[in-house]
Symmetry: C3
Subunit: 158 residues, 3 copies
């Protein structure tokens, strides 16, 4: 029987997003079905940088959209970010080791058919539109996520 | 057979508390048994704002009690809190969408009989008294939590 | 059948490391097999303070090693750290209650044979050498961790 891993991607930080996506890519290589449920800050990771929009947004939603990261490479570190310097150092260290970057892991996850879900409530509160996300992202409720997670082999809150 | 979800509520931040409580409420609506084990900063979420006390506390415990959030609505955001401004914006965005607030989700969880446990060691170190918590909170050891979690369907550290 | 708990130790913060190690110690006392997979910032927890080295490191790796915590007691709090003052207060509160410190829980976990794994990719990116870690630490890939976690009873991302 196929095994399943369900991850809640809550944090919206570069390093944590990386951890989640490395797990997702690795699990897919082991033929594990992977569901990623993006909520709150985690939604930044699946915004499509080419399809940001301010149409039909309230003032707050516009402000929020403005200060939110515009896509994966724009996410800060969860610590030692130091206004971007710490992140720069980490990226350079990764390059020295020829380690893939976050965008590469995201691309890999998409190619390997990781299932991407966006939390409906978070999407509404933050005022995002469906078109602002990567095209394969499906907007679902917490209930839909839980239904699957109750039967899955691994669940984690990242 | 009844399914079970066990959450460790560690963080004590408004947005993460919200995520945990939304999962808890949703799971209860699906007839899933829910255990929330509050530890460290997470204890702030189940303090009863009407029953804070400084009796029998050491100086450090008093200081700590003073700077700790006094209840759910007093918790900061895990990011973009900006001394409360970012949180204010999020709350206003939630209001625009008529989304419930943290207190509402907490009220819902209590009404739906989510089981609330406080980590004994954290309670002792932080110097809290049993009376300072919501009346249904039971103080238990990590062992008691793990016993249940080993048999449950979902476990997450939030 | 033996039950198993698998923890990803990602955060590298004093309080979260404590939470993870308390769970690990408690689980071992219940005869649960425990695997801790240290990744990213979490690697700081299993550095051997007596075996730090700068040999064969690039400039970035040296800088990174310099600013990284040198061992468990050197980790900051995840919040209210205030340049170490908040942590000092917490440590004093723990002492008042004769609660063990992080090093004690780490020592306990080692004595109780918790399995310590370091994430290969993180080790390479951060430029750590095998000799810089506690001697029992094994360096493995995410795949090895996932293989076990898919069969385990509890998995958490800390």
């Amino acid at each position: 029987m196929t095994k399943t891993m369900d991850l809640i991607m809550f944090s919206g930080e570069y390093d944590k997003a990386m951890a989640g996506l490395i797990l997702a890519n690795t699990a897919r290589e082991m033929d594990v079905e992977v569901n990623m449920f993006f909520a709150f800050w985690g939604l930044s990771l699946i915004r499509d940088p080419d399809h940001l929009s301010n149409e039909d947004k309230t003032l707050y939603e516009k402000m929020f959209s403005l200060i939110s990261p515009k896509g994966p490479e724009d996410l800060p570190l969860s610590k030692m970010n130091w206004a971007g310097i710490g992140k720069r150092v980490l990226l350079d260290m990764m390059e020295e080791d020829h380690a893939p970057r976050l965008v590469d892991f995201l691309k890999g996850a998409r190619k390997k058919q990781v299932n991407f879900y966006a939390c409906k409530l978070s999407v509404e509160v933050m005022g995002f539109k469906k078109e602002e996300f990567l095209p394969e992202v499906e907007i679902v409720e917490a209930k839909d996520f839980l239904k699957g997670a109750l039967e899955s082999n691994i669940q984690m809150f990242i």
